[in-house]
């Protein structure tokens, strides 16, 4: 099962599967059904951060330095928390300027400087190649462990021929893969869909593989975590591993490592590639900002248990870096070790693929391209030929980078443990952080400062980490580590200026980053940037401001024909046609001046393929006139901010206006309504007044014209005249009441009074009338006294009105009216019920409208009751409301008809000395 052949077949079979996935991803992209247009795939592709170093090295580091391995993942977690600010800004800038690598990004920020781009590329090559070597070493070691177990995996690479070394062939296969899927487009700012799909798949595979070993270790080798930890607690040298004591440099080392991982996550070329260049949609950052940290947490959850288990098993487990393999092997399993091997292979190959693409783009665009453009001897007259050249350069770069990595691994890889190389690389990449991060937020940072800071930082990094590493590999005499070069003690690499007792990474980080930041800021403060630099600085620092990037900044002049020729030569006809298709205009006439937007677009297209520095050189060669200078960009910026401010104020004004006009409209509507009500009221009043007047006049005329009427008839007519006059004056009285109520001039004399007494008065007043009508009036009074504040005359008017109404509307046969007075919380309720037909719920509020008459009442004065004026209830409600109470209609509980309820608040406790008033009422 574990024979060399099976393992090899499996490994190359897995690589073949990657080809299939990548090819599928590319095909889907061509069909417009992208596989990677999902935030989850984006988050998984960021997990290329977890390399073989995570897969094998975390356990090794945990076994040696306890929880310090977690810092490598806590740093990126912090960085992802800042993604909505920092990474979003990077994505926005890279998108707008078509930047293709971190070298391009830094070069573009500092005035599209080709020398700065070259510097970044060189540092990346020197710093990262060992990291690629580390991946190859991981593949070789894991293969050896798998095949040779239980013998120790003796490694003598130097003795072996390279063609018998599997990792050499893996490197070659990867080179083919990267050439196929990483250099499909000339424009490196276009997405490598197939590659990203394969990377996301690899992230899943390594997670599954690692979790499998972890679960196997905790639950099969041991009986769950409790068992494992109880056995660990018996061994003090193992419990030491769980505390800060085990971390190199203690608390200080902890912070140093956290900062290192945080910076490296943002500046490693492969992370820049997946985070920024391969980002399809800025909104994917939302999901990735928590999903990727979650991935890190999950993959690290079982690292400590595996490390502890390996240490508990002692010699049988071998080197801690290989625990993930040796633990299942020692249990005699066959399948799991193979899965682990594939997991490690995914982790290693994923990193190598992305890192090599990033580095090859940097090498071709930042190193080779500027040189080619500079050499005047190179004449590429044939159209489109250059595009082929450029792709060729990138392909050669890919091969060379992988071979360089292989060489490094073959020559000095044996002497380093995995984690050491990884952290050395991290420290190299973090030298980009000051130029990158400070450049994104401080407009004043300039090229000289960045170049000097980065160079000195790099040299210090080399002195404090790289060269001592060589010395420990036996390439150099390690004596200078102890005594310093030429006996200069203060230059000792691990204790510069006598700073001792720090762990070597924090120590290196302090000096290299300190010098880097110090020089960047210091030099920037005392030198002047070029106009282009100032422009770019403004564009970078203000990148999140809306609308800025669309502003056209180019002031020079050129013709369409010249631009077309330039693009055609470097990008080929198809790409040229695409650029021009977006700007049709006078497309046919090549002698027309090119619009500024087209010039900008052309430069961007060149930048995507050749890098921003070279694109600028080429554009300059055909465009006459000034490039945009600081004054113009600043004026645009200022105009933009001014416009934004003016916009904001305008918006504020317009919302205010809208609100005011809304209020005006409402007021207007209200006025119209009032006007309508007034008209209606006047019409109704006139109508109501005319009815009795007409009959008075008619009867008076009859009396005047017919002197010889019989006395009886005459008396009857006179009665009618008197009754109608009474009705008329009552009506006028009511209208005056209503007018006073509505204008607020109604004078009430609120006094403390007893509602019970008042009810008795009122009932006495109407008793007789009701009896005449045949109405049975029943009175139920709950409380003995009911002190309220009110105007006795007005309240009596209300109660009489209620009783009168109830009497009118009670049933025709055996009419009954019930008056109840109850206490309800701190109010008194007076309810008047009748046994009439009741009032339907939607009519209940309308009975309080002026002149409202209930429909059936139109039939006339049944049972001789006088018609109401339709003003009684509105007036009653007005009075009650004036006294702080309420009046409403509900269904009668006992008699089944309508029930009018008056509620008045209880009077506050009696103040001494006012007792007589109650006695009066």
């Amino acid at each position: 099962m574990r024979s060399g052949l099976v393992v090899l077949l499996l490994a190359f079979g897995y690589l073949a599967l990657l080809f299939v996935i990548a090819a599928w991803g590319d095909r889907r992209a061509e069909q417009g059904r992208s596989l990677i247009g999902s935030p989850t795939v984006y988050a998984l592709s960021i997990a290329v951060y977890c390399t073989a170093w995570t897969f094998y090295g975390s356990v090794g580091r945990a076994a040696q330095f306890g929880p310090s391995f977690l810092l490598i993942y806590l740093g990126p977690t912090l960085a992802m928390l800042m993604a909505p600010f920092v990474i979003r800004k990077m994505v926005r800038i890279a998108n707008a300027q078509r930047l293709t690598s971190i070298a391009d990004f830094i070069s573009a920020r500092y005035g599209k400087s080709s020398s700065l781009g070259a510097l970044v590329t060189l540092i990346a090559l020197i710093g990262i190649t060992p990291y690629i070597a580390l991946q190859l070493k991981a593949i070789t070691v894991s293969h050896a462990v798998l095949v040779n177990y239980p013998q120790a995996a003796e490694l003598h690479l130097a003795d072996e021929r390279f063609w018998t070394d599997g990792s050499f062939w893996v490197a070659l296969v990867l080179a083919v893969f990267i050439i196929l899927f990483g250099t499909r487009h000339l424009d490196a700012s276009e997405r490598h869909e197939g590659m990203v799909a394969a990377i996301a798949f690899e992230s899943l595979v390594k997670l599954m593989a690692f979790l499998s070993v972890g679960i196997f270790t905790v639950f099969v080798l041991f009986n769950g975590p409790a068992d494992l930890f109880s056995r660990v607690s018996e061994m003090p040298e193992l419990t030491r591993l769980l505390s800060l004591e085990a971390v190199p440099g203690g608390a200080l080392g902890w912070v140093g490592m956290l900062v290192l991982a945080f910076l490296a996550f943002l500046t490693l070329p492969r992370q820049f590639q997946v985070l920024v260049v391969e980002n399809v949609d800025e909104r994917h950052l939302r999901r990735a900002s928590w999903l990727f940290p979650l991935y890190l947490l999950v993959i690290n959850l079982l690292v400590i248990p595996i490390a502890l288990a390996g240490l508990l098993l002692g010699d049988g487990a071998g080197d801690p870096d290989s625990f993930v393999l040796t633990l299942p092997l020692s249990a005699g399993l066959a399948g799991l070790p193979l899965l682990v091997f594939i997991g490690g292979l995914s982790a290693a190959t994923g990193m190598m693929i992305v890192e090599t693409i990033a580095l090859s783009t940097m090498v071709s665009n930042q190193l080779v391209m500027p040189l080619l453009l500079r050499s005047r001897r190179l004449h590429l007259s044939t159209r489109g030929e250059f595009a082929g050249w450029l792709l060729g350069i990138r392909r050669v770069a890919i091969l060379l980078i992988l071979l360089l990595g292989y060489l490094y691994h073959a020559l000095i890889g044996e002497t380093y443990s995995l984690v050491t190389i990884g952290l050395v690389s991290f420290a190299a990449a973090s030298q980009f952080a000051p130029a990158l991060l400070i450049g994104m937020y401080w407009r004043g940072a300039n090229r000289r400062g960045a170049a000097l800071g980065m160079s000195v930082g790099f040299l210090l990094w080399a002195w404090t980490l790289l060269i001592p590493g060589f010395a420990q590999s036996g390439w150099l005499d390690p004596g200078f580590l102890e005594h310093g070069p030429w006996g200069l003690e203060w230059l000792r690499p691990y204790a510069m200026f006598g700073l001792e007792g720090w762990d070597i990474y924090t120590h290196s980080l302090l000096w290299s980053l300190g010098a880097n930041v110090g020089l960047l800021v210091g030099v920037s403060l005392f030198t002047r940037p070029s106009p282009l630099e100032q422009t770019q600085a403004a564009l970078f620092t203000e990148a999140l401001r809306p609308g800025l990037m669309q502003a056209s900044l180019w002031q020079g002049q050129t013709t369409r024909g010249e631009l077309r020729a330039l693009l055609g030569r470097y990008l080929g006809d198809a790409a040229t046609a695409r650029v021009f298709a977006q700007h049709p205009g006078a497309a046919t006439d090549d002698s027309q001046p090119a619009p500024a937007a087209l010039t900008v677009r052309a430069e961007q297209a060149l930048a995507g393929s050749l890098g921003s520095a070279s694109a600028r050189v080429l554009t300059d060669s055909v465009v006459r006139g000034e490039p945009p200078d600081l004054a113009s960009i600043l004026s645009i910026l200022d105009t933009t901010s001014e416009t934004l401010e003016v916009n904001r104020r305008l918006e504020q004004k317009s919302t205010e206006l809208a609100r005011t006009s809304e209020e005006l409209r409402a007021a207007n509507d209200r006025l119209r309504e009032l006007d309508r009500l007034k008209d209606e009221f006047v019409a109704m009043v006139s109508h109501e007044l005319r009815t009795p007047l007409t009959s008075i006049r008619a009867f008076a005329e009859i009396l005047r014209d017919n002197q010889d009427l019989p006395d009886e008839k005459r008396r009857h007519f006179l009665d009618v005249v008197v009754r109608e006059s009474q009705r008329l004056s009552r009506l006028i009285e009511e209208i005056l009441d209503l007018a006073r109520l509505e204008s607020g001039r109604l004078t009430l004399e609120p006094k403390r009074l007893d509602l019970v007494t008042l009810v008795h008065h009122s009932v006495d007043a109407v008793q007789r009338l009701q009896e005449n009508r045949g109405v049975t009036l029943e009175v139920v009074i709950g409380p003995e006294t009911a002190p309220v504040i009110g105007d006795a005359d007005r309240l009596e008017q209300v109660i009489i009105n209620l009783l009168d109404n109830a009497g009118k509307f009670a049933a025709d046969d055996a009419p009954r009216v019930l008056l109840r007075l109850d206490r309800h919380k701190d109010h008194y309720r007076l309810a008047v019920e009748d046994n009439g037909p009741g009032i339907s719920p939607d009519e209940r509020e309308r009975v309080f409208e002026k002149f409202h008459q209930i429909a059936h009442q139109e039939s006339g004065e049944t049972r001789g009751r006088p018609r109401g004026s339709g003003l009684g209830l509105p007036i009653s409600r007005g009075i009650v409301a004036h006294l702080g109470g309420r009046l409403w209609v509900e269904g009668a509980a006992r008699l089944g008809g309508a029930c009018l309820v008056m509620e008045l608040p209880q009077a506050p406790a009696e103040a001494p000395g006012t007792g007589e008033e109650i006695a009066e009422t």
């Binding site: 977690l70 806590l74 977690t77 928390l81 909505p84 800060l244 608390a251 947490l297």
Partner: protein, 64 residues
Amino acid sequence: MNAPHQRERLVALVVLGALLFSPPLLLIADAAPAAHGWLVIYVFLAWGTVIGLMAWLMERREED
């Protein structure tokens, strides 16, 4: 990003994460006498909390 205070909340979360992962709190967790391995448990708990908060902040609104 349009939600009121979303920006401030994110900044606060970054500060919280930095504090949780840094020495003063870390030393307290390390010194906890209860059992061995408190430090590791503390780091994982803090880590999970920060991720959970970030997920909550980011996914509350489907559309920005």
